[in-house]
Amino acid sequence: MSVSTAYSPEFEYDPVAPPVLYELDVEDLTRRMRDEPDIEAMSRRVLDALGAWAWQVFPQTFGYRWKGEDTLDWGNLDTWIQSKWVGGLVQSPLVEKSINVRLLQYNALRGFIVESSRLRQLFETDLEIAAKRGNEAAFVQAAERIDWSQRPAVDFIRAVRLALAAGAHLLARNLAAQGAKLHPDHLELCKMANILAPPRIVNADILATPSVRANQAWLRHHADEFKGQWVALREGTLLAAGATAHGVWDHLESTDGVMLTKVF
């Protein structure tokens, strides 16, 4: 992102920067808010964009004030920055879109910022700290204090990731399941719930494999000779050995009935 920090009273905004503001559309933003796994990164991008505006208008404003041309009210800096931003969007000659669409973009972005801020407030507290420290017990306690019954899907996704980082694996499973039940149309959350679900017995029609016994016997007697190597065995016979699994696997004429393992 290119950001001009020089005082340039001729231009109220830089029509080039920040480009992300002009390229977003509401549908794309809404989709990303729902599915973007790295919500923090996107939030930072949006806040960077706002920061760029603030940085750009700051010297300009003081320049105007110095020259006695400033008529802006400094009462609410946030509102002022946002007004400038909307003005920039509306006036931008680079975007061939209606004013309504630009305002919708603005509203979507503002909603996103508020949502991100709320998420940050929620997670940068107890949950984040516990996850960063890998403190499973503290994480579980912090999660128990949160009412999850009304939380949006993004909260569950973030919480599941943090739970995994904290080592709270059962809580991660339960949160994913609860979130998927609450938001059954959310693909990412449903995928999480499926992957973390309890193991499921599959009625696979596989016969006993007596050759396994021969492979085990080979490993019992010859493992020491091949320490650190990958070995491919079939019915107790060594087919290939090597430093990498790929190297050994690719060396085989047929992989049917082959056991591939690394000997430690």
């Binding site: 193991p199 499921r200 017995i201 396994v212 591939l260 393992t261 430690f264």
Partner: protein
């Protein structure tokens, strides 16, 4: 011979011999290595009742060509106090049987993500949570046999 309850119900549906050896070159403690099939590849995995998920050796996962879209990416997973970057998948794991019937499970599987210069110095592990938690298993250290059985509803 497979294990049974007093009333004749089966405790185990299958059994296989295990190899008892250290899990890494540096370790001196022995672990129970059981023959398994992860998706389509026969390999070995260590029984780790203090662990979580099936931790699949990255080189085996690479051979399986797992669908990258079908995963939960994590910044890092805390496994027994060790923070490891990687992804979670849902994979089929079969406990192979020399006697009786093999047992196939759909489990949560963690695949560590390695940097190009890194190697994974551990075998695949079968943890309790997310992997072995819903099966019966028993070990006979005299015959080096590992017994396993499904827990079905009502059993």
């Amino acid at each position: 011979m497979l294990l049974k309850f007093e009333d004749g119900r089966q405790f185990a549906q299958g059994a296989c011999s295990f190899v008892y050896r250290p899990a890494t070159e540096r370790e001196t403690k022995h672990r129970i290595f059981v023959p398994v099939q992860i998706e389509s590849i026969q390999t070995e995995a260590v029984v780790d009742t203090g662990g979580v998920y099936l931790v699949c050796h990255p080189e085996i996962a690479d051979l399986l060509r797992l669908d990258l879209a079908d995963k939960v990416g994590t910044d890092e997973l805390n496994i027994r106090g060790r923070k490891i970057p990687g992804s979670l998948y849902r994979l089929y794991l079969t406990l192979l049987a020399e006697e009786g019937k093999p047992l196939t499970l759909e489990v949560s599987a963690f695949v560590p993500r390695l940097e190009p210069y890194e190697t994974w110095d551990l075998p695949s592990f079968m943890g309790l949570t997310g992997c072995l938690e819903w099966i019966r298993f028993a070990v006979d250290p005299i015959t080096d046999m590992f017994y396993f059985g499904a827990i079905y509803e009502g059993s």
